[in-house]
């Protein structure tokens, strides 16, 4: 009886384990037929709609059995964390979004990413890719393993009526004038500039403006490796001091440290804030007010502490780029890729965003799009995210420290010193190994 009972227990356990193993195989087997697209963009974002439309069109025109599953994590920091988890677990999605930076470069070095340059050359589209967009997504050595999400231009958008009411008749040309304009707006009861502190990239990008427009981004390549220091770059001090001035003088929304970027942009579009640092993808939501003369965009102010010419008036960037998992890039995926590239420009303009490929802007585009595009094509350098070009530990440290900085928990000096210390401890070994 005893033996029989124990035997029964063993059989039940073995059956349960076999069932579990079988279930796992079956689920992964069915999942193989579905293309996993991991994105930071939500249903309301045009980049998400663009890919949804491309998938739907591919299904309708080429392969009705093609299935794609979108996994969305809206918060960029959380999105990146989950992607790192996928990487560490060797479970990369078929298509995913990643910034150009050390992690993408590491994946390419491990032969995990499709060579986008080779694919575009095969399709004869490589030379059509805008040079600015290409530079933005290319690695330090010029390799191209990620594909631009779109062609965005970032600058400061503003409500003209709020400026007029505050007595600002001329657009600020430099940061001193910009701060003066903020003061006038504040005195007139306005919240001058919309920034969120919850998504660390936002204050980091705004902070970076005096550096970007003056010197471009080349110095980051040496500073991130510890060959030079952040503290040794005068433009870094211009950057931290500019953000400090915005915080200290209460030119930012109350409680901005815990606001989501969506709330910030909704607030700006609803007329709650006078200015916002925003992407051109919001143009479809702003073009009506633009045509009515109520809203405008200004050029990135000139750094008056820097003697050289202003290198950029709008920050050209491509959003968070797309990467294709090489292990899953079979014939079917390649066919889908070809279709995507072929229709990317057409589908982009349907949604009111600029294509990363050079083409004539459609006649039907709004006046704001045309005016903005005219300024975009004048740019000779592209934007760089200084917050994702360092080693992963320093990037995270920047995220944490900028939140401390805008909350007044650390000073500008501490911010820069801690940044250099992190580079020395983590960046030097990371880039040298």
């Amino acid at each position: 009886m005893k033996k029989r009972f124990l035997m029964l227990m063993v059989v039940v356990l073995a059956a349960a384990m076999l069932f579990a193993a079988g279930a796992g195989e079956s689920s992964s087997g069915s999942a193989d037929n579905v293309v996993r697209i991991y994105t930071n963009r939500t249903e309301s974002h045009v980049a998400y709609q663009l890919w949804k439309n491309l998938v739907a069109r591919y299904q309708a025109e080429v392969d009705p059995d093609f299935k794609a599953e979108f996994e969305t994590v809206a918060n960029l920091d959380q999105y990146k964390d989950k992607l790192k988890l996928y990487i560490a677990g060797d479970d990369l999605p078929d298509i995913f979004q990643i910034d150009t930076g050390p992690i993408a470069q590491e994946l390419a070095a491990m032969d995990k990413l499709v060579d986008i340059e080779a694919e575009l050359r095969r399709l004869g589209m490589y030379d059509d890719l805008d040079v600015g967009c290409r530079e933005y997504v290319a690695f330090d050595n010029g390799d191209l393993y990620i594909f631009p999400e779109s062609r965005y231009g970032n600058t400061i958008f503003y409500w003209k009526d709020k400026f007029e009411a505050a007595g600002i008749t001329e657009m600020p040309e430099n940061y001193t004038e910009f701060l003066e304009a903020c003061e006038k707006l504040k005195q007139n009861g306005e919240i001058p500039l919309a920034i969120t502190g919850k998504a660390s990239w936002n204050p980091l990008h705004v902070m970076y403006l005096p550096s970007f427009a003056a010197t471009g981004s080349k110095w980051i390549d040496t500073a991130k490796k510890g060959e030079t220091t952040f503290a040794g770059e005068p433009v870094v001090w211009d950057s931290v001091n500019w953000l400090q001035a915005l915080v200290d003088n209460d030119y930012l929304p109350p409680g901005f440290q815990n606001m989501e970027y969506t709330d910030i942009m909704n607030g700006f579009l609803g007329g709650q804030y006078a200015m916002a640092w925003a992407q051109s993808l919001y143009i479809p939501q702003m073009d009506k007010a633009y045509e009515e003369g109520r809203l405008g965009f200004m050029l990135i102010p000139e750094n008056e502490n820097y003697d050289g010419p202003r290198l950029a008036t709008i920050a050209i960037q491509t959003g968070i780029s797309w990467a294709f998992n090489k292990d899953k890039f079979d014939e079917r995926m390649q066919d889908f890729f070809d279709f995507v590239i072929e229709h990317y420009t057409e589908e982009s303009y349907k949604l009111g965003i600029f294509s990363p490929f050079n083409s004539e802007i459609p006649e039907t585009a709004s006046q704001m799009m045309k005016d903005f595009y005219a300024e975009m094509v004048k740019q000779t350098i592209c934007w760089i995210n200084w917050d994702d070009h360092c080693d992963p530990v320093t990037c995270q440290a920047m995220d944490d420290m900028v939140k401390e900085f805008v909350s007044g928990m650390i000073t500008a000096e501490e911010f820069v010193t801690l940044l250099d210390e992190s580079v020395q401890e983590y960046g030097v070994p990371y880039f040298n190994e």
Binding site: M1, G197, Q396, E404, V406, G408, E433
Partner: protein, 293 residues
């Protein structure tokens, strides 16, 4: 059948599967994590054995570790106050009700079954400054300056607010436990106290609370251990911010592991959390051991 269950081998055969699962999902990860803590690994590279370097760096060079450890202790104490204290007060009030008790019981218990994400979203809107949320709107009616209190972004307030929200979410559980204990206090004890001239408050302090002392201690131990592993509410409400002012050990470990990609270092933090929980559990077992006899 009774004979079968009287045999130790039969009982063991029932316990073994549970033990095997528990070992696989609890003990094995703990041991594996402790093993990982002796390596340097960023998710891509080859793992490099670095001995106790991660622990040495954590205790001696990480500027964030000690403040976060202290914050975790403060958070734990606040949790005991909000969850055990709040739950006990609610249970006492409920036990005094003779009408509509079940309605209030259900209302107080609702936050327990709402997801943490939803609770955090609700509180983010309630405590919002821009646009002004309900809490600040009401406060602004009393004093206009209070309308601009940024509850979640003032470094000195953010931790307390996280503890308050977690306390609000969880106190219903302890309320139910305390309520069950309070209604189990024998009537003859209360009657005897009443005959001796004790009023309701005196009955509560001198009869009911001493009678449910072990339940209070058990709940304190539960909250103590749960709070040290708290993650969701502070992470969702403030993401540990502003800066690291509401960061707890668990979210610190998460960020070091998955954001900074220092998996070995994160494992070292996880090992420290496990050790602290073990020490606390042993401490509680010794201090609150029931008196013999």
């Amino acid at each position: 059948m009774r004979g079968l269950f009287s045999k130790k081998s039969t009982i063991l055969s029932f316990l073994l599967p549970a033990l095997a699962i528990y070992t696989a999902v609890v003990f094995f990860p703990i041991i594996w994590s402790a093993y990982q803590s002796f390596f340097d690994w960023n998710g891509f590279s080859v793992k490099k054995f670095n001995g106790f370097d991660n622990f040495i760096r954590l205790f001696t060079a990480d500027r964030n570790f000690w403040p976060i450890l202290i914050q975790t202790f403060v958070y734990t104490i606040l949790q005991i106050v909000f969850q055990v204290g709040g739950g006990l007060i609610l249970a006492i009030l409920l036990s005094g009700l003779s009408f509509g008790r079940s309605i209030f019981q259900a209302v107080f218990y609702i936050p327990v079954i709402i997801s943490s994400a939803a609770i955090c979203q609700i509180f983010t809107k309630l405590l919002s400054v821009s646009p002004v949320g309900i809490v600040n709107t009401i406060l602004g009616l009393i004093n206009p300056e209070w309308e601009m209190i940024s509850w979640l972004t003032i470094p000195k307030l953010s931790l307390v607010m996280c503890a308050l929200v977690e306390g609000y979410k969880s106190m219903g559980t302890y309320m139910v436990i305390f309520y069950a204990a309070l209604i189990a206090v024998p009537d003859d004890l209360i009657e005897a106290a009443t005959i001796d001239g004790a009023n309701a408050f005196r009955c509560l302090v001198s009869v009911k609370l001493p009678y449910i002392r072990h339940i209070i201690i058990a709940n304190v131990v539960l909250v103590l251990n749960n709070s040290f592993r708290s993650f969701d509410i502070p992470y969702l409400l403030t993401a540990g911010g502003p800066g690291t002012s509401s960061e707890l050990l668990a979210s610190f470990m998460y960020k070091r592991s998955f954001s900074s990609m220092q998996y070995g270092y994160g494992s070292a933090i996880a090992t420290v959390i496990v050790l602290i929980c073990f020490i606390l559990a042993i401490f509680c077992m010794r201090v609150f051991r029931p008196e013999e006899g």
